[in-house]
Amino acid sequence: MLIITCPWCGARPEVEFRYGGEAHIARPADPSALTDQEWADFLYNRTNPKGLHAERWRHIHGCGRYFNALRDTVSDFFVTTYKAGEPRPDIDASSGGNP
């Protein structure tokens, strides 16, 4: 059970959260303008990196907020968490596991 630092509630156990998949995949403003391939990229294609992953979590059994996290998918350690709408922090995995 991971410890996840909710930007509002602080460090809380994983069972209070719901994973939300890869972050920073904004819904296109005008989906009808997209080709099928572009739409499929949005719907289905994922980076799925081995290493640092920007991902969404929701503190569903807490404050209810969606937020984003940078997590190393090899160690499962979080590098940082940040509020939805904020840009991905410019750090890499080697900066260590200190949120």
């Binding site: 059970m1 509002w8 509630c9 602080g10 809380r12 156990p13 069972v15 209070e16 059994h61 807490g62 404050c63 209810g64 907020r65």
Partner: protein, 194 residues
């Protein structure tokens, strides 16, 4: 507890924990009490509405995460950055609802009466935290979960709102259909206590 507003109606209210509470064993180290009816409102809103809503309710809405304010027997629990649970034990929801709506008219917000959605349970005694920790993974030491803290969290497979009123006094607010499940598991956790 407090007199129920139901007494003014011709119909009898029914609550999910009545039978379980009646059959419950008294354990001094972790007493269990089914709390009485209360007005419960969920307030959500943009910044401008927050102050007036608290004023109308009579309790300022706390801005600090996971904390509650109390005044005049009423409570405002922070549940999220734009979400508060307003609790007025023994009160009717309708006049409170009207008062807050009047105070926040024209300001973007949402107010919903959820008085019947959940029920309250008090668990009190020196082993209360031990009993809660059998189904709840939070650190319930006073450093990590001080008096005055409240939060949504889990108890086994149910969602609850957990509140600490005193070092040995916790309240749980739980949706009514989950209440027997939570109660029975609290009872199970108390079995080893004298």
């Amino acid at each position: 507890m407090v007199e129920s507003p139901s007494m003014t109606l011709p119909l009898a209210p029914a609550r999910p924990l009545t039978a379980l509470a009646a059959a419950s064993r008294d354990v001094a180290a972790a007493r269990l009490v089914a709390l009485g009816d209360a007005a419960r409102l969920v307030f959500r809103g943009r910044e401008a509405a927050i102050g007036p809503a608290g004023e109308a309710f009579g309790v300022a809405l706390p801005r600090e995460s996971c904390r509650f304010n109390a005044a005049g027997g009423r409570f405002a629990f922070w549940l999220g950055p734009d979400e508060w649970l307003l609790l007025a034990p023994g009160a009717e929801a309708a006049p409170i609802f009207a008062a807050i709506e009047a105070a926040t008219s024209g300001l973007p917000h949402s107010l919903v009466d959820v008085s019947a959605r959940s029920v309250g349970i008090e668990i009190a005694g020196e082993r209360a935290a031990f009993v809660l920790n059998q189904g709840n993974p939070l650190d319930l030491s006073l450093d990590a979960f001080p008096v005055g803290m409240c939060t949504r969290t889990v108890f086994h497979k149910a969602e609850i709102v957990l509140v600490r009123h005193a070092p040995d006094v916790f309240h749980i607010d739980v949706w009514r259909s989950f209440a027997p499940y939570v109660w029975e598991l609290l009872e199970d956790a108390r079995r080893e206590l004298a």
